[in-house]
Amino acid sequence: MNLSTLNPWILTLTTFLPALGALLIAFLPRRDRDIRWFALAISVITLLISLHLPVHYREVAPTNSGTFAYEQNLQWITSPNIHYHIGIDGISLWLVVLTTFLVPFCVLASWKSIHDRVKEFFILLLLLETAMIGVFIALDLFLFYFFWEATLIPMALIIGIFGHQRRVYAAVKFFLYTMIASVFMLAAIIWLYAQSNTFDFVELQHLIATGAIHMPGHTTLWLFLGFFVAFAVKVPLFPLHTWLPDAHVEAPTAGSVLLAGVLLKMGTYGLLRFNIGLFPVEAHKNAPWIMTLAIIGIVYGALVALVQPNMKKLVAYSSVSHLGFVVLGLYSFTRAGMDGAVFQMLNHGISTGALFLLLGVVYDRRHTYEIKEYGGLATPMPMYATLFLLITLSSIGLPLMNGFVGEFLILSGAFQAKAVYGIVAASGVIWSAFYMLWLYQRTFYGKITNPVNATLPDVDLRERSILWPLAVLALVMGVFPTLWMNSIDASVAGILGTQHGVPAAPALQVKVNTVLK
């Protein structure tokens, strides 16, 4: 069978297969073991199907900007004029794969730690997967908003039902905070529709660029801000971040992984696709204060992470810092900065996702995230210590690990945009080493201080099969980033092409085995 016949339907299949799985689980008898295996199978099949996207991307890659691969555009509702318009470019391509990649690990991570209402949990998890993928593929603003809000409910329920002590508070806070912010985006979307009678992203982009939509006075700014607030809360950008630590600390491991790994990327993706995509001039104009907030987030998130007594909060605040890097890169409007930002979205998904999975390992054993409860774990759990170290190195951006490539390009781009941005943000390399290595030392080094820890079992086969692939992937992404960057770079070029691109100075290429002079 010719696989390319799949192309028009592949995105739909990838998106809705998990939801279909969730539906089937609803009809399965309450045998937890079967449900787990079924959910795992669905998520793995979804992953395998989604791999079709990058493998055949080159054949269908859009040649000019503003067009998308694997596109499908069907009328959904005629009045209002809503389309089922989906498609991906070199950026959303990887975010879709990141999502399908992380979900099987989340299923595995929940294998033992979720033992009540297993059925409901996996239904929610798979519904969440569909919604998350939908966000990245939607090219119709209504469809996008639909998926965007659809992620909220399963995630809020996962936190609120399956979380820890203060789960209800955290779930409500998460839900309301992002919900209220999204209302502004909804208002902006409706305004645009009222003016143009279309929700179509590509059409709207064209209409706005050509001035076909009349925007009096400060309208563009208000529209820009409407989208911006929704995305900034999701990122989260300082000072809109305080829902995140609470949500993370209370969420079960799988919830934290998807929250950090994918949901936050929805925010940065939105900032790129819609804020920059629809309102490039406004985005340019507002870049200085947005970058300033991003840099405050980088330093502030890191310093607050430094003094957290709770591991999970520490990692949550580190996310504020890392996502600050992403926003900084996006609004540098340089090729390097934006390339790095997109790559850093993937890196953060892998390394912070892995960090939460790692924290889940000790939580399953000790039911606490307090750092002072641990210490000396390298002795009873050497393999765990090794894996934790590898992910720590990825997180602090050690060269040849994925984090370095992203951070370096972002900082280089920010420096080109304005030197002081690059300089202040680059101090992040010091802070991140400080808080992560200090965490590592307090958790793993020294003698066992709490006798309970002396007999903790090291990671078992299931845990190893979750953690090793992520650690290896972090390394592969650091050594061969071009596997991802080629398509990212092309799409970023397309986005920048419609802007006042900042051309980089030409690099001198010398052939293989050249003798100099």
């Binding site: 309301l176 060269p399 370096f408 071009t482 100075a505 001198l508 002079k517």
Partner: protein, 665 residues
């Protein structure tokens, strides 16, 4: 190009060794672990020798090989590649050669320690990154090695991670280095911004390179900024003021690690970086001057501390900081060859000193305090004689290796167009102190009576036993390094070494310096060729030898002839002595002024006040206010989630209704 030109093997072999031992070493016997690690290193050394021969045979100043793109973003790209010229050749031979000897030594030294496979895996891992650092063909790949050796250093300092002091020292080393790396990174951003590439070839070598076309900056400019930022990076890695504080603490690591990483190789990376970037520094006299000043200050400052320390490894640590200062001083007066020359001889004699110290520590059962040693000469003659050779070398007494390199540095400091009599004078005083504290070490350790715990004195506390000589596996590297510490300097006779590095040094043309330089333009700003006469050179040489002998004599007088005097002097000096003994309280100062306030500020101001009270407090108050308002409007419902979900559904319905209405309008 000959098919034998495969320089990528040089770093890859130790990487393979590290991976094999790291992944499977736990199941290997100790012998198997050692065989893997040593084979990898030995082969790497052999391949390095072959590549060096190919380079010298080729007649080209440099050979380069690419292995594909690493990072590409728009027009900016960085390759994996190796750049082999005379500078990287020396570095790689020192790293693989000395590295191999230290690997041999470690086989015996680490025999009784746990985590044998882990140790050798890390050690090979270090070799990989160090070789990437010196062989890279661009600054970003150099940075890979740069941070990678930092990681290896972190792991090896913290090798005995059950000890809090070791874990602390590892963390301190990594973070302090990150401060330096921050400067390095910004230097790279400037290079990208102004020149668009990080490749040595395009930046520093090709004739039409924009960088090489730039005139000498008489006032601060972009090259000055790049140079100063690189210096920040170099200060971190090479333990110069103000970032030297991590190196003495790094002595918590096993002694072979101190020898390899914290004396012979890694800490010289900053010197390598400055010499590699000579084209930049020679065009930025202000940055160059900063290098010289930092180096001179550090060499003097560290030497004063070295005089008072009683821990044998700490004396050597401060000595390393001090000697690195000499290398910076040389680089800072644009005497790059002299700098690299001293780097090489220092690698020999300092590795030997550390390995000797390790042998001593091994022989007296783990004691590191020199006050509890003494008289070891008769127990450990091989260790004594080899360490004596190294001490003569570092003290600068002819014909030992250090004499030639140190004398060259002092001469250049005196005579180079970038030099100054002040640098020379301070360097000379430092040379005196160096000779003094090194012979103090020798006399305290090896002469007189053994002051350690005697097995017969107290029957119960005798796990030390009588001091004993180390096994041959440890002594053989000492002897080989001893030979190198003698003959290693002879390559410098007749300025042969200086011209060996000529192809690497990018001379600044007369026109370039003339562009802004007025009268100074008459003499080309280049390395070495001072105007002082040969007789001055010989006079200075005689002075420095006399100074070295003076240091020896004073040490003999104080520690052999009148051993009661040092304590009286220390008591007499009172506050000054305590100041120096406590290393000028710099660690305490950093903790009180930087670390403590940073953590307190982050905790109290940022987290507990700004984050919890201001930002989150506002959010919660807004929520409470909203709830109060809504409570008036609607009836309270149980089950928050359900009620909000209901609101969302209602809201969504309203939106759809609104849009249907819009659509039908």
């Amino acid at each position: 190009m000959t098919p034998l030109f495969q320089p990528w093997l040089i770093p890859i072999l130790p990487l393979l060794g590290a991976l094999i031992n790291g992944l499977f070493g736990k199941r290997f016997s100790k012998a198997a672990v050692a065989v893997v690690a040593l084979t990898a290193t030995a082969l790497s050394f052999v391949v390095a020798c072959v590549q060096a021969a190919i380079l010298l045979q080729s007649g080209h100043p440099a050979l380069e090989q690419y292995y594909g793109t690493w990072i590409q973003a728009g027009d900016f790209s960085v390759n994996f590649g190796i750049y082999l010229d005379h500078l990287s050749m020396i570095m790689m031979l020192v790293v693989t050669g000395v590295g191999f000897l230290i690997h041999i030594y470690s086989v015996a030294y680490m025999e009784h320690e746990g985590g044998y496979y882990r140790f050798f895996s890390y050690l090979n891992f270090f070799m990989f990154f160090m070789l990437v650092l010196v062989l890279a063909n661009n600054y970003l790949l150099m940075f890979v090695g740069w941070e990678g050796v930092g990681l290896a250093s972190y792991l090896l300092i913290g090798f005995f991670f059950l000890k809090d002091s070791a874990a602390n020292a590892g963390k301190k080393a990594f973070i302090t280095n990150r401060v330096g790396d921050f400067g390095f990174l910004i230097a790279l951003f400037l290079l990208i911004q102004h020149f668009g590439t990080l490749h040595y070839g395009a930046l520093l070598v090709v004739r039409d390179s924009a960088l090489l076309q730039m005139p000498v900056e008489t006032s601060a400019g972009v090259l000055t900024a790049i140079g100063l930022l690189m210096l920040v990076g170099a200060c971190g890695k090479s333990a110069q003021i103000p970032l030297y504080v991590w190196l003495p603490d790094a002595m918590e690591g096993p002694t072979p690690v101190s020898a390899l990483i914290h004396a012979a190789t890694m800490v010289t990376a900053g010197v390598y970086m400055v010499c590699r970037s000579n084209a930049i520094f020679s065009r930025a006299p202000i940055a160059l001057l900063a290098v010289a000043i930092i180096g001179t200050l550090t060499s003097f400052f560290a030497a004063t501390i070295g005089i008072t320390q009683t821990d044998i490894k700490r004396v050597l640590a401060y000595s390393t900081v001090s000697q690195l200062g000499y290398m910076f001083m040389a680089a800072g007066v644009a005497a790059y060859s002299a700098s690299v020359f001293h780097l090489m001889t220092h690698a020999f004699f300092k590795a030997l000193l550390f390995l000797g110290a390790g042998s001593v520590i091994h022989g007296v059962g783990g004691e590191q305090d020199m006050r509890k040693m003494g008289g070891l000469r008769k127990y450990m003659p091989w260790t004594f004689w080899t360490m004596l050779i190294a001490t003569l070398a570092i003290a600068g007494i002819p014909p030992f290796a250090g004499f030639f390199s140190k004398d060259e540095i002092l001469w250049q400091a005196f005579s180079s167009p970038h030099g100054s009599k002040i640098f020379w004078a301070v360097g000379l005083v430092t040379a005196f102190m160096t000779s003094f504290y090194m012979f103090r070490l020798i006399f305290l350790t090896f002469t007189g009576e053994y002051r350690g715990a005697k097995p017969d004195a107290h029957g119960h506390d005798d796990h030390h036993g009588t001091p004993h000589e180390s096994p041959w596996l440890m002594l053989a590297p000492l002897v080989l390094l001893g030979v190198l510490s003698v003959v290693g300097g002879w390559v410098g006779i007749g300025n042969r070494f200086e011209h060996f590095l000529d192809p690497v040094i990018q001379k600044v043309s007369v026109e370039q310096s003339a562009a802004q330089n007025g009268e100074a333009a008459a003499t080309p700003v280049s390395e070495g060729e001072g105007t002082e006469s040969k007789s001055t050179e010989n006079l200075l040489m005689a002075i420095s030898v006399l100074v070295a002998l003076g240091g020896l004599g004073l040490a003999w007088f104080l520690y052999v002839k009148r051993p009661e005097l040092p304590e009286q002097i220390a008591a007499g000096a009172g506050g000054l002595y305590r100041l120096v003994l406590n290393k000028y309280w710099i660690d305490e100062l950093y903790a009180a002024v930087l670390i403590g306030p940073l953590i307190a500020f982050s905790r109290v101001v940022l987290w507990q006040t700004v984050d919890q009270k201001v930002v989150d407090g506002t959010v919660n108050e807004a929520a409470v206010a909203a709830r109060d308002v809504s409570a008036v409007i609607r009836q309270q419902q149980s089950g928050l989630i359900r009620s909000y979900a209901g609101w969302v559904a209602a809201g969504a319905a309203a939106v759809v209704a609104y849009m249907v209405w819009m659509g039908t309008r």
